[in-house]
Symmetry: C2
């Protein structure tokens, strides 16, 4: 007998379940977060082709580059070339660049970036070890970037690292997350992105943190989530965040990505796995699963890696 | 700086969230389902030691063996020796053996099994390809085993294979699942175990199937779920099943397990990953995570495999 090819999730809902947002959006981070820590230099054409492939697959929100110091993140040294190579996106499609400070913002704006990601650490240890500054300095830098980017009319995603656990400190106090999120929200971030940089977050904690944020005046609609799959929890965390109104989730095609600063962390949530669940829940992400899988093939080959996406693995077998 | 060791999930809830069952139980299937398809013969002492290690880690519901034809599943030919080697469990601990028919049940009862797993297929194709019988014959066999085992005063888990997708047929109609579940429930199964043997199930489908079963008179309390992680969805499916009252979930230590009959299927949900989420949600499973990780070490070594558990991988790094 011939095996069935599962190109779409079986028994998908016609519309999202009661108590969950009517729409959900995937923010694809493969070309930036997914590649940033790869030690092997990848040329701008490969990155540009990857981004174009993702856009062709229906991705409508895409992180394309980081305007950081080239000595610090050599893989992102060609940010200008990548952004120029991708060109202007179609209407309704947003291309985001990460900028750590106002110098980076100037470069991103000059390159034509239409959305930026600012970043701050919730914990003191990660701010010092990763960013070489105090927690408050990292928040101040993110606030500076956010205000300037809003003044320039750009969409801003305000990332908060280490919302659920810190590699050195361990558990993170919910009140610290709330306090930091309020700072970024008040500075004008369009969404505050709760990041689990080391992948320890679980559904119970996600619910607790989202309840605390809602109580402090930041509803799910102002939030997005960036989960890592280090402890295998990412997708369950997405399911746990939906009822709180969170409707935007970061993911990386083929599960690309490491974390150079958080030892032990392995890989972002794979976009293919997230697509499987969201389509099954009745969301139309606009993404074609097979085209999505194909977009990361050249990158997987260039890196000599096996995909970290369970769905891509299963459907490629 | 010294890295923090995450032995327990950070920010765990004190008690389970509203709308979820007050208790949840893990049914560990590593020694049987996890090992059954391994081509390398493993000796009874290794299996017995594995089971004892799991019980020592706090596992209270454990599948230990299958009383099937040795020519069909050579790895389970030593079922009697394994059950004898484990000995009587402590009070409140249940050891289950899989039996495909009444002949297997006789062997299991003679060996002293105190709980049995009966098994039927929801789909015609899987029944024919895997079990060499029709779907109705597979249901009749499971009913026969269930009635005889209940007459003998044993706890019965009634497994339904292919509740969410079939490797040959593709999507499975919900009404077929309901119909089959009613047969096993009426025969006296203590729990009907919905199995996603090929791992394609997603949260939306789990919700739909559970709603249909509740409407047909089978509430979550009479159900358990056996999810595979082939498409990365298993843990999100557990999270989706909890609000429907399902409180018993199969998992395999270190993610042990393949499926010899369903090409493409790779591995059960890893117990460590499930423990992380359930403990985070405020459930006391009684399981010690480090001891659980240690219990599968000799098996991982004997098989020369890398663990498929994300949690075990992360905490062993």
């Amino acid at each position: 007998m011939t095996l069935h090819s599962f190109d779409t999730p079986p028994g998908a809902r016609v519309s999202p379940p009661a108590g969950a947002p009517a729409r959900a959006r995937i923010h694809e981070v493969g070309p930036r977060d997914g590649l940033q820590a790869e030690p092997l230099p990848l040329d701008a054409e490969l990155k540009t082709g990857f981004a174009r492939g993702l856009l062709g697959a229906g991705v409508s929100s895409l992180e394309v580059a980081a305007f950081v110091h080239p000595a610090r993140v050599p893989q992102m040294a060609d940010a200008e070339a990548v952004v120029a190579g991708i060109g202007r996106p179609a209407p309704g499609v947003r291309l985001t660049s990460l900028v750590p400070n106002e110098r980076g913002l100037d470069r991103a704006l000059a390159a034509g970036a239409d959305a930026v990601a600012a970043i701050a650490s919730v914990t003191e240890s990660f701010a010092r070890e990763n960013m070489g500054m105090t927690r408050d300095e990292s928040l101040a830098a993110a606030v500076g970037v956010t205000r300037a980017a809003k003044d320039a009319g750009r969409h801003v995603r305000g990332y908060l690292s280490m919302c659920f656990g810190d590699p050195w400190e361990g558990p993170v106090d919910v009140s610290e997350v709330v306090e930091s999120a309020l700072v970024l929200a008040e500075a004008g971030s369009d969404v505050v992105v709760l990041s689990d940089t080391i992948g320890v977050a679980h559904a119970g904690q996600v619910e607790t943190v989202l309840e605390a944020l809602a109580a402090a005046g930041i509803p799910g609609e102002r939030l997005a989530a960036h989960f890592h799959d280090t402890y295998g929890q990412a997708l369950a965390n997405v399911r746990a965040a939906l009822p709180a109104g969170v409707a935007e989730f970061d993911a990386s095609a083929s599960g690309l990505g490491r974390c150079p600063f958080a030892p032990g962390a392995t890989g972002n949530l794979a976009t293919e796995d997230l697509v499987w669940m969201l389509h099954g829940l009745g969301y139309d992400t606009g993404i074609d699963l097979r085209a999505l899988m194909g977009a990361s093939d050249p990158v997987d080959r260039a890196l000599g890696r096996t995909t970290a996406s369970a769905v891509k693995k299963a459907l490629s077998a």
